[in-house]
């Protein structure tokens, strides 16, 4: 085993890259859950985004168009979920599971002809001067555009939820949909918009995986990333900056275990590969063990069906 091959600078730089897909998906899901909707279909939307983005990027040879297409595909798919749960009042848990099943199948159906294809390369933003700073340069300023976009989305969501009227209305809908309805807010419309924002973010996260992080298309390539994103929202207690912190911690674990695999640690590969999932469980347990805190942070109407009877 050769641990000296693991460079801390590269480790931190690559953890940001490895965290970006789940960061994007989780920040989208945070907005959805803040509006009182639990969408368990993140995994399905991510993988659909991954293949849609990949296919469009390969056909047009333009990675940026691919990312836009992925966000669109995620939003369209999430609209199905939104229509079913908000207009047809279906059970959110079951509908979310259906979305995941459908997404996994649909993506492999269109993805068949794209396996083994190389996507067009995405440009790295080598920010002049800043990227030449020792240590900080490679860690912070030599990434591709999406790493910065994902942080910007987190900041945007934080500002929106905390400082704007729209954010206040969204939170009101999530805390008590009946009261929000009585005040004249369009509960269903607001939730549909939130759901589609979540879908777009999940789609982007998936496309980041297939276009930049891996970059390649393989069937079922998200491998539970969508579910981890869902867990991340709980970990973050529905707070945007904690989603960022959680995603980077998680990215760190993933990168570290990959590095340990490469360094030939005496632990079998399988046990290292299962560590991200085990750590997710442990984190969930720690966060939920204090029931009062969880109850305070979770949107009060989360997962409940809204039916305006009068």
């Amino acid at each position: 085993m050769d641990l000296s091959a693991i460079s801390p600078v590269l480790l931190i730089a690559s953890l940001m890259v490895s965290a970006t897909p789940i960061l994007l998906a989780a920040i989208g899901e945070l907005v959805v859950e803040k509006s009182g909707v639990l969408n368990l279909g993140v995994e399905g939307m991510m993988i659909t985004g991954a293949i849609s983005g990949f296919a469009i990027a390969v056909e047009t040879q333009n990675p940026l168009l691919g990312l836009v297409a992925a966000a669109l595909a995620g939003a369209i798919l999430s609209f199905i979920f939104g229509f079913l749960t908000q207009v047809l009042l279906s059970n959110q848990v079951a509908t979310g599971l259906a979305l995941t099943l459908f997404g996994l199948g649909f993506s492999s159906l269109i993805g068949k002809s794209y396996s083994g294809v190389k996507p067009p390369a995405s440009a790295r933003l080598d920010i002049p001067l800043l990227s030449d700073i020792p240590i900080l340069g490679p860690v912070l300023f030599r990434h591709d555009l999406m790493v910065y976009v994902s942080v910007a989305i987190v900041a945007g969501v934080w500002i929106m939820l905390k400082f704007t009227r729209a954010g206040l209305v969204l939170r009101a809908v999530g805390e008590n949909h009946d009261a929000a309805h009585a005040l004249g807010y369009k509960v269903v419309r607001i939730r549909l918009l939130a759901i589609m924002f979540g879908g777009a973010c999940a789609g982007l996260g998936g496309a980041y995986l297939s276009l930049i992080r891996v970059p390649q298309w393989t069937e079922g390539m998200t491998a539970g990333a969508g579910w981890i994103a869902l867990a991340l929202v709980v970990f973050a207690s529905w707070k945007p900056w904690r989603v960022l912190l959680g995603a980077y911690l998680f990215g760190g674990v993933t990168v570290l275990q990959l590095n340990l695999q490469a360094a030939g640690l005496a632990i079998p590969v399988e046990y290292l590969s299962m560590s991200p999932y085990l750590i997710t469980i442990i984190v969930l347990v720690i966060m939920s063990s204090d029931r009062n805190r969880t109850a305070l942070n979770a949107p009060a109407s989360l997962g409940r069906t809204f039916h305006a009877s009068h």
Partner: protein
Amino acid sequence: MLTLEKRAIPSRFWARSTPVLAVFMTMIAGGVLFALLGKPPFEAIRTIFWDPLFSEFAFYYRSQLLVKAGPLILIAIGLSLGFRAGIWNIGAEGQYIMGAIFGGAVGLAFYPAEGWYIFPLMVLAGAMGGILWAMIPAMLKTRFGTNEILVSLMLVYVAQNLLSSVSFGVLKNPQGFGFPGSRNLSDYPAAANLDLIEGTGFHWGGVAAILAVLAAWGLLSRHILGYQIQLSGQSPRAARFGGVEPNRLVWICMGISGGLAGLAGLFEVAGPAAQLTPDFNVGYGFTAIVVAFLGRLHPIGIVLAGFLLGLTEVGGGIAQQNLGLPAASIQAFQGMLLFFLLAMDVFSNYRLRWATTEVV
């Protein structure tokens, strides 16, 4: 303007006809999807739903139908109890894998001894493997209030890694020329789960499925526990006032669903799959969720739904060979089926009304 008005009691007519309607709408939507992707729509639908039963080679496919429907029904029966009570075990795939590992390991430990007691011990170990794996989310849920959906699902990935670890490691066939995977259990008579009636695909898993269906039917219609399960699902608050212990239900529902999933895994690995390999599992644990919902969480409905989805699994296999559709595309079908079913549920729970004035 159309509005929805809640029915006091869900409509029985709609509850029974929506699954049938959902299947037809899935066929239509699936055909459209295939046409958009440049595959022949009618041929694809016929291959999936018709050929397994009535084509030239149907004599072979018909036995496959029982092979696929058995585990689906067995797992879905267990899941349906939890789903009725609002306990969401969606990690049946992981419990299925653990049942196969535990049961398979017991069988392999006895190799090459012969004895009538070996297979029953394997069955017991398979059920235990599934139960133990399901006890993890149950324990975390009752003790810390951790979300059972996420924990049970994470454990699927852990189980998959464990499976690959044992098939490359401790349970690898010493005479397997270095290939991953255990000894072939179908070559080991004391541990093999062969067809009880030659060529029908009916093995001990089928027997277990029948017993599970009967037991679930009795439990739900004749036993206090079944009443408590249904009460907790429909009104958790009323159930607590009625003396139902929510944590006890979590333990019971997770235990039953985990045990049945573990059994399904053992019967599969000792029978049709015949050996533990890193990818012997084919997603029955997830398909069973669709089976449970399509069967309206009712034992008889689950039997019918299990056969229907078993049919699509067989048909999906044929479509894979003849039309070059990827194996996972059948999942797209199953997802759509669940979509249509959930969408049309609105008719059983609500009434459509014309409202003359709109104030909403």
